[in-house]
Symmetry: C2
Subunit: 296 residues, 2 copies
């Protein structure tokens, strides 16, 4: 099987490394299908292509996407907005049975956009990442034990799904299936909402009018502020993409959040300590139900 | 100097260990005054007293606070609400020049409550801690390089302040001075507000009515949710204490937060992507100004 990877950053690079490692140790990968797999990489930058080959991330790489003409499976690891235009452009050069998939953190709009002109498309979302980005941060074990969501629809050809499933098994990821819309609502809660919750915290802390208090706040901020503000201080383009591409699921999550916040504010205003104690007890109980052992 | 520690948990235990370590290596502690120091510990539990002595955290320990009658400096490492009643009770047995200090995360109310009947009081707040609690988590280096805030007032005797300063230097902490009210406003922003921001996130995620989406959210939650929800899933009594004891500083911080959140919601509603991109760029820029190198 020939696997094409478009975009050789953290995710694309780690995909390549994981496939190449599975090749090197086929005995530990009983489920890997149609060995040997060849990995073809495409990046906008010639330098990244060279690095990817020299570091054993891919077998071949090129800035020209025509390298993928013979691919059986192509994984798009570029920003969500770039995928549909790229598929449009590549379309005339692809074999009809080539399967396409992506790794975007939103699914409904992408599945709708691509499936309509390339039926052999399966939406995917590996729940893996890290604070580092780029090819140099790539690691073969990035997806191991992490959720990898596939969002086939009623019209997804079973053979197309099987090909992407083979890839996910090769990565040793934990496979989940769900509806694209349900996926987007789920990630709105646990991934997109936290970005705006966290960004609002940083923005609020910047509004203290007293310069002395502001300096003290900056000097005293510790692990509580560090953790709560982390995703709100991340790359702006990531938060912007979430808001734009998942607006319809994010807004209801933000409204629900504002209601909870208003409730806490009202309890503090009215000194309803019993209600606050109960609510904080419930959040303490609820948090572990959202975390795997790995994240606790 | 005889140093009494009331409450032998993470903070009290670490204080004891740090002082004992400084005793063992006086050459590395040029600023430590009036060596040798003796450490006296008081805990409600006899078992904790025994552990503290056997583990070299204190020289002597007792469940009876009368052990502290001869102390030159007493550090209260128990919850904020317990300090004033304990001072009241200890008062008849203390020498008039004994200096008292505490380690609570709120200062204005405690400074007002204690100073009125014990002038030799200096409010203190070491900005150190960890996810573990209790004596077994104590470590001599807990305060090293971390901020340690003292909140003397116009009526604080200089000799009392000097005695607490000697303790802070012994811990190798980074000494800050500020007004108790300014302290409470600063910690409201970076320590107390995050707890309610974070708890509201957990509470909001629990409101998803569709059980399938709820299960997916739980399965997909990863480092972003883990970090943003950490302090909101902590001990309820901690958040409750912050809300009760620092209500007057916390409420304005919550109002400012709600305004920022409303602003983000409005921008997403009106699809004002330019404003969101700019705001997220600003939060990305602002976050590092709140973090020491150690926390980045």
């Amino acid at each position: 099987m020939k696997v094409g990877i478009v975009g050789l950053g953290l995710i694309g690079g780690s995909l390549g490394l994981a496939i190449k490692q599975a090749q090197a140790h086929p005995a530990t990968q009983p489920t890997i299908a149609n060995l040997p797999w060849t990995v073809l990489g495409v990046s906008r930058r010639a330098e990244t292509c060279q690095h990817a080959v020299s570091q054993g991330v891919v077998d071949e790489a090129d800035v020209d996407a025509r390298l993928l003409t013979a691919a059986d499976l192509i994984v798009f690891c570029t920003p969500p907005g770039t995928i549909a235009p790229m598929v449009e452009k590549l379309k005339p050069q692809l074999q009809a049975d080539t399967v396409l998939t992506d790794v975007s953190s939103i699914k409904a709009s992408i599945v709708a956009a691509i499936s309509s002109h390339w039926p052999n498309f399966v939406g995917g979302h590996p729940m893996a990442g890290g604070s580092e980005s780029g090819l140099s941060a790539a690691q073969a074990s990035l997806f191991e034990g992490r959720p990898y969501v596939l969002t086939p629809t009623a019209s997804t050809p079973p053979e197309a799904l099987a090909r992407v499933e083979a890839l996910v098994r090769c990565l040793k990821a934990k496979l989940y299936y769900c509806d694209p819309v349900a996926h987007d609502r789920a990630v709105a809660w646990i991934s997109h909402l936290p970005v705006f919750v966290s960004a609002s915290l940083i923005a609020a802390c910047g509004t203290e009018p007293d310069k002395t208090v502001q300096s003290l706040a900056q000097a005293f901020a510790s692990s509580g502020f560090r953790d709560t503000s982390r995703v709100g201080g991340g790359p702006p383009e990531l938060g912007l993409m979430m808001a734009e591409a998942n607006r319809s699921a994010l807004l209801p999550a933000l409204y629900a959040y504002r209601e909870q916040m208003d409730q806490f504010i009202q309890w503090i205003e009215t000194q309803n300590w019993t209600a606050i104690a109960l609510a904080l007890h419930q959040t303490q109980q609820a948090r572990p139900t959202f975390l795997s052992d790995r994240d606790r």
